[in-house]
């Protein structure tokens, strides 16, 4: 059987690796972005000089041949699901028995007038990074539009090169569509203290320049001189390529719980997939690294003869806002009016905080948020899965500590404080 995977990101590559572990099927992975799998999450570190591109490749180059995973560095231009063939840009065509679409995302295009000027660009792919290296040469001031995770990464990248960065963020507090107010404020403060000119509640009305960008006008009427504009207002599933095919799409490529599309033998995973009926507590599209990986692991089972539904378990995620680490487990809503409530502890000076979310009626713990603290994933997961009581969690709180040795035990401070409130 020939399994063809389009996309060599975490989703596609995880599928390929696990199919190889489980079977002897012929595997082909096609990508037009890079010859070998690299970690998209590490793009920022290349620009900041922490690493070179080769360091972002999790496997050595000999790995693929040794594991008989054929890599094709090309773009798929057409897809015929009836004939089960793919047409490549270089003219070649490939037949498949099973097709995996792991197409990833594309940056959401900036609707602002002037968005097509030189010096305005998003950050998603390796090519974007290469372009960024070019467009930011000699740049003194930059404006980053959008307050998501990629926006802050881009701001940090530019900042590391001594470029003055203004971040124009629509929300009232940084990333407050995802974070409760206190966390959002701690992050906002942190970013500002590092020298980023964070403008909250701010939109960019227009971008100016003859050929190259030289200024932006904000909705406040203020005009900022800048030679670079980062367009990071989010990503959306990369589905353009399947839109003319019979494959059903909504925002993403629609898949069932076995990650299969409406067409038999065609699957979609990773950023581009939209789950028709997500598990409780999970969203239809979750464009993060971990879900891409888990989908890949799950799909490999199905492809190798053990139909396995996608059960990602309890949600978790993490990020780093300049020097502030963030981890989240389970459900942590932004506001608490209905059935959930939370206990919150913070140390403003040390920039640490912890939030424990629980069900009002039953006092069962539902989720954790932490800034500046490292928590033990396994325990958070176990306690949420077992629906441990708030009292139990508070009593054993210090066990969650995953900070390096000799660190101040902030969890015991949090414990003392929270027990007093609870």
């Amino acid at each position: 059987m020939h399994i063809v995977i389009i996309g060599n990101g975490i989703a596609g590559i995880t599928t390929a690796r696990h199919v190889r572990k489980l079977s002897d099927h012929q595997i082909t992975v096609i990508s037009s972005e890079s010859e070998y799998f690299f970690s998209r999450t590490a793009l920022m570190y290349i620009y900041m000089g922490h690493m070179k591109f080769e360091h972002t490749q999790p496997y050595e180059n000999w790995f693929w041949k040794k594991n008989r995973i054929d890599l094709v560095f090309d773009r798929v231009t057409e897809l015929d699901t009836d004939a089960k063939t793919l047409q490549l840009k270089t003219g070649k065509s490939i037949n498949y028995d099973k097709l995996v679409l792991a197409l990833g995302s594309v940056p959401r295009p900036l609707p602002t007038p002037g968005a097509n000027l030189k010096g305005v660009q998003p950050l998603y792919s390796k090519q974007d990074l290469e372009q960024l290296e070019e467009t930011t040469k000699g740049v003194k001031q930059a404006v980053v539009i959008g307050g998501g995770l990629i926006g802050i990464e881009l701001a940090e990248m530019l900042h590391s090169r001594g470029i003055h960065v203004t971040m124009a963020v629509r929300e009232k507090s940084y990333w407050d569509i995802v974070l409760p107010k206190e966390e959002a404020e701690m992050i906002s403060k942190h970013i500002k203290a590092r020298g980023i000119d964070l403008r909250l509640d701010t939109l960019v009305g227009s971008i100016h320049g003859a050929e190259k960008v030289d200024a932006v006008t904000l909705n406040t009427g203020e005009t900022l001189a800048c030679q670079f504009v980062g367009a990071t207002i989010g990503v959306m599933p990369n589905i353009k390529f399947v839109e003319d095919s019979p494959i059903e799409t909504n925002r993403g490529i629609l898949v069932d719980e076995h990650l299969q599309t409406n067409i038999e033998d065609v699957f979609a995973i990773g950023d581009c997939a939209e789950i028709r009926t997500p598990d409780p507590g999970r969203r239809p599209i979750e464009a993060v690294w971990y879900t891409g990986r888990i989908m890949g692991e799950t799909l490999a089972e199905t492809l190798c003869g053990t139909p396995t539904p996608y059960r990602p378990g309890i949600w978790y995620n993490s990020a780093k806002f300049m020097d502030l680490e963030y981890q989240t487990y389970g459900q942590v809503p932004t506001t608490y009016e209905e059935d959930l409530d939370s206990l919150y502890w913070e140390d403003i000076v040390a920039e640490r905080c912890l939030r424990i979310v629980y069900e009002k009626a039953t006092k069962k713990v539902k989720g954790f948020n932490a800034l500046g603290l490292r928590l033990r994933h396994e325990l958070c997961d176990e306690w949420i899965a077992r629906e441990q009581s708030l009292a139990y969690v508070l009593e054993h709180l210090e066990q969650l500590d995953f900070d390096p040795e000799f660190y101040t035990n902030y969890l015991s401070k949090a414990k003392a404080n929270l027990e007093a409130i609870a």
């Binding site: 970690s39 000089g49 922490h50 050595e60 971990y290 490292r374 033990r376 390096p404 040795e405």
Partner: protein
Amino acid sequence: MQKAGIIAVLIGFGVFLTLPFITRHTLNEQLVAKEFGQEETSTLVSRELEPWFGKPLSSWKLISEIDKTIGNVNAEIVKRYALTSTDIDHLVELAKSQKLDEKHIEGLWGAFNFKTQSFMSYGSWLIGRSFNSDEELRNNIEQVANNITQYEVIPKKGIDTYVAKTLKYTLAKHSITGFVAANPFLLLFLTFGLSALGGLLMLTTFTKEPAGIKNNGIYFHPAKSRKWLGIIIGTLLIAFYIILYFYPQYMTGWIRMVDPISYLLSGNEAGQFFLYGLMYTVSVLVMGARMMAKYRHNRYQLVRTGSVMFFQTLFAFLIPEILVRLNQPYFDFKNAWPLNYDFFFDFNLNRLIASGNLGLFMLVWGIALSFIGVPLLTYFYGKRWYCSWVCGCGGLAETVGDPFRQLSDKSLRAWKIERVSIYSVLVFAVVMTIGVLYTYFTGSGELLGINTYSMRQVYGAFIGAGFAGVVGTGFYPFMGNRVWCRFGCPLAAYMGIVQRFKSRFRITTNGGQCISCGNCSTYCEMGIDVRSYAQRGENIVRASCVGCGVCAAVCPRGVLKLENVPVNTRVNTTNFVKR
């Protein structure tokens, strides 16, 4: 501030590098007489060097003159004591007609003559023998004559290479005059003082920024990414080590400069290894301060760096010198065999045994440290207790070497080479030590047909000096800061076995949080592909991990934690990632 720091460092290193070129030596009769115990050679040497007496010479000129002199003196000595061609002709004539006997020899040169005695010790096998041809006879006699020249005349009457080496060094060291001899304190300030001060000023790069990971621009940096500055630094380091171990006679200006400090500490004049120790300690302190500034948000790094600075200053540098001042044996209490490869050498054992109670204590301490302390502590805490908390080599690697940690090779191939290489050195060290002890107790210089003396010589030159010094440190800018620790150190190999199979230490991977970014692997100085474990949700249990904690520090997702846990649970993996 950093600018001022860079300038100070440049001046400091500049003066340091110029010093050997401005060092002047002036010879005189008494000095030559003092350094040459033997009157005959001393007179000859004086005669040869006389034209230079009272004239300031550069180190190069001086050493080339001494080399020339030694050649001439040896030639003269050979003329006086070796068998001449006439001697050989006589012997041949004698032996042609009858079998040689002792009387003949005595008849030639007299009974108590040097020639007679050396001939009797090297040529007695010719006595009473008959030969098939005149040619064979002549060949044999010539061979004896050669042996006498090489093994009797030069070593006993002339200057052999070993003596020549020491002579060159001591003569050069003791003949320093002029500016360098007159201004040691000024020079100390201009070299050590300015470099250290500059180094401290440079670390304000870190302190002026908010605390956090400070890896920005490392791969654009000319020194930290194998670019031009790295190549220069590496070349200078390698050159320094080669001079230190093999040509100390050229660095006497530097050594002279640190004499006052040595007198202050041990009461003796400085030698090349005192200079080296001082440079080492100052570097560890200054760069340790830099490390602390860089990782000031991370208390594990602060404590650990403080610890290596403490052990280097006190245990490796001050205590041994003070012991000497108190007429006790020079001893580094933290240096464990087999890293301390000459611990079981006869000279060391004898010297400790001869030094009373303290000496005996040192002997017992050294043995207990290696055979009880090392495995026990490694069981409880992993080899990090030594490698990145106590060890001198580790101390240098973690401070001076920190800017280069990312240059270690992470490939599987490098790991394979590492395993072969480090365990070979361990086997070599153990075999050599057994050999040396065998010789010590039995008096026999051979074990299983291998000469234990040459074994220790080879180890000392190739492993002790070549590998640990020249390659170990000189290659920082090319292969990262743990080349020796990773590929060579026999103690690391020994502790690695304990750590891999029986230890509570591990690096825990935090569930499924890894994003495969590669920071951990990139900054692992031991070249461990940490990511390959972390992204599979697997804990890291590796023989080579020195527990520096940098992988955990640089991980942007809080995935890694160095821990001591019960042995039976430590390789467990989480179920967040399928393997």
